[in-house]
């Protein structure tokens, strides 16, 4: 892939070029300012742009605006390189739409880590939507999941692979031995296990996977004949779920889809029905807060909760994506709220008042919403949001059976945490009564 690196500072270009070339096997084209970059985009087929904000002649924001305004370059993913905490600039960047951002100073390790993540997103983005729909829906997996179908019947395997996605996404194996080999080589995240597997049969295959130090966490789904007793496969140790064998594409899809809702929740379904919504929420939050605080912000793999003994500030409002609403809450400890407000106003966090914290968080949330609106409108979805309000009360959103989901974010460098909780409007309404 050709990556266009745009920065007037040669030391930054050098670090980026070195990491992209050596560690990520990209070809790098350089430009010293926006004008040169726009010219290059007209001449070279570029798969990714890494763009600095402050540059002579045409700056990064204007360059981004022109990239987005030109039909030929509109869809090119951009990673913003920034030491920018000016609210207006951050707002413009997130609304114009960037895939990610990197903060300075750069180190080769951080460049590699960040760009790897971007490349993984890009490969997930380029998948046909049906495959992405499934991949996103398999909630225990990430969007880059590989699947393996293991069955002795060649025509069933072909039907399965064709129905669920392109060949490169669904790997196939005709026997238990071949299935093990492919699992070791390609590490699929989910394996659908059928029958007719030869000497290394179904039960033995499952035991071997579960005993393997690397593969043991693979999701294993049994393919059981229709009409089989419900406990036929699931009583066996080691399966995560089961689907019914069918040659009807709609039934197969429905069967796989039924696996997608472990909690049976409306929110989960909403996220599955709108591929890209989850990513837009996560990346929008990371970008707005990360650029504001001038630090790398990342989604934590594991959900955490705010420490009970620290005052927590909540920002609450609602989003409506086409139809049902999502009640959201952005929470952070008071010191995080102070840091954000201090950056926004440009004063020392110690001088920040409670009122500043509230208006600062409201502003941040409006920016995230703005970013989300742009991202969703590209996918034909309409987002409306209500003006958020800030509270320090920790009333859970949703009732006891509430359908909610919390994303935990962390900035390791700044030692700050914050949380984004989503709940469906239905549960929010219940909670309000």
């Amino acid at each position: 892939m050709n990556v266009l690196v745009v920065d007037d500072d040669r030391t930054t270009r050098f670090l980026l070029k070195r990491a992209l070339t050596n560690d990520l096997a990209c070809r790098v084209v350089e430009a010293g300012d926006g004008q040169e970059a726009l010219k290059t985009l007209g001449q070279v087929d570029v798969g990714l742009v890494v763009l600095d904000v402050q540059m002579p002649r045409v700056d990064g924001v204007e360059t981004l605006r022109r990239i987005r305004a030109n039909a030929e370059t509109r869809a090119i993913p951009v990673v913003m390189l920034t030491a920018e905490r000016t609210e207006d600039v951050v707002r413009q960047i997130v609304e114009l739409g960037v895939l990610d951002y990197m903060t300075k100073p750069l180190t080769p390790a951080r460049i590699t880590e960040r760009v790897k993540r971007v490349l993984a997103w890009l490969s997930a983005e380029s998948r046909p939507s049906a495959a992405r729909f499934l991949a996103e829906g398999l909630s225990l997996l990430d969007a880059r999941s590989r699947m393996l179908v293991l069955d002795g019947d060649e025509s069933y395997r072909a039907f399965f692979a064709q129905t669920l996605g392109p060949d490169q996404l669904v790997l196939q194996a005709r026997s238990g031995v071949e299935g093990l080999r492919i699992s070791v080589e390609s590490r699929p995240e989910v394996v659908f296990v059928g029958d007719g597997l030869g000497v290394l049969g179904e039960a033995l295959f499952v035991r071997k996977i579960r005993a393997h130090p690397v593969l043991q966490h693979t999701q294993l789904i049994a393919i059981v004949p229709s009409g089989a007793p419900r406990d036929r496969a699931t009583h066996q140790e080691g399966y995560n779920g089961r689907i019914t064998r069918t040659t009807d594409p709609a039934l197969l899809l429905q069967s796989v889809k039924s696996l997608l809702r472990p909690s049976g929740g409306g929110l989960q379904e909403l996220l599955v029905m709108h591929p890209g919504l989850r990513e837009a929420i996560v990346s929008g939050t990371e970008q707005v807060i990360g650029m504001m605080l001038e630090t790398d912000v990342e989604l934590r793999q594991q959900e955490t909760a705010p420490a009970a003994d620290r005052l927590v500030v909540h920002q609450r409002g609602a989003w409506s994506v086409n139809t049902p609403g999502i009640d959201f809450r952005l929470s952070c400890e008071e010191r995080t709220g102070r840091a954000i407000a201090g950056h926004l106003i440009g004063i020392d966090p110690m001088m920040v008042t409670q009122e500043d914290v509230e208006s600062g968080l409201a502003e941040v949330f409006n920016m995230i919403s703005g970013r989300l609106r742009t991202a969703l409108s590209n996918k034909g979805l309409r987002l409306e949001f209500e003006l958020p309000e800030t509270t320090t009360s920790n009333t859970p959103i949703g009732g006891p059976s509430h359908d909610s989901m919390t994303f935990s974010f962390r900035s390791a460098a700044a030692n700050l945490d914050f949380w984004l909780t989503l709940a469906t409007e239905r549960q929010a309404a219940v909670a309000a009564t």
Binding site: D9, T11, F14, Q54, A83, P105, L106, P108, A109
Partner: protein, 129 residues
């Protein structure tokens, strides 16, 4: 950030840059470090000229300082980077007197840094004991 790297590398806080930190950031690639220093030194005279020629134009001064803030941070030159940040902040706040004072500090810092980098260019892993 500076104090943290100082404490774990054992480099004196008074150093204009931290060679051990820089080498670590570059994954131990001494040739890469040397090349990075070379690029910085080649471009520094033009950056200094921008600082000096900004005159009364605080916007230009802020931009010139911003640029040095970024490139010196790439070289683990924390003192120059924070001196440049001080110039940028004062210039952006419209405080001309403070901006010019900070500029003098930055120019002095850059002179020291240049000498240290030139020395390190030939022996980038230098860690005097």
């Amino acid at each position: 950030m500076n104090s943290q790297s100082d404490s774990h590398t054992g480099t004196s806080p008074s150093s204009s840059f931290d060679p051990a930190e820089l080498l670590e950031r570059m994954g131990g690639d001494e040739e890469g470090v040397r090349e990075l220093i070379e690029i910085f030194l080649e471009d520094l005279p033009a950056a200094v000229a921008d600082l000096e020629s900004a005159g009364d134009d605080l916007v230009r001064l802020a931009k010139a300082a911003h640029s040095i803030k970024g490139s010196s941070a790439n070289l683990a030159a924390a003192r120059a980077s924070s001196a440049a940040a001080a110039v940028e902040m004062a210039a952006r706040a419209g405080d001309a007197r403070a901006a010019y004072q900070e500029r003098e500090c930055l120019l002095e810092e850059l002179r020291v840094l240049t000498t240290d980098l030139e020395r390190a260019r030939n022996r980038p892993t230098t860690e005097p004991s």
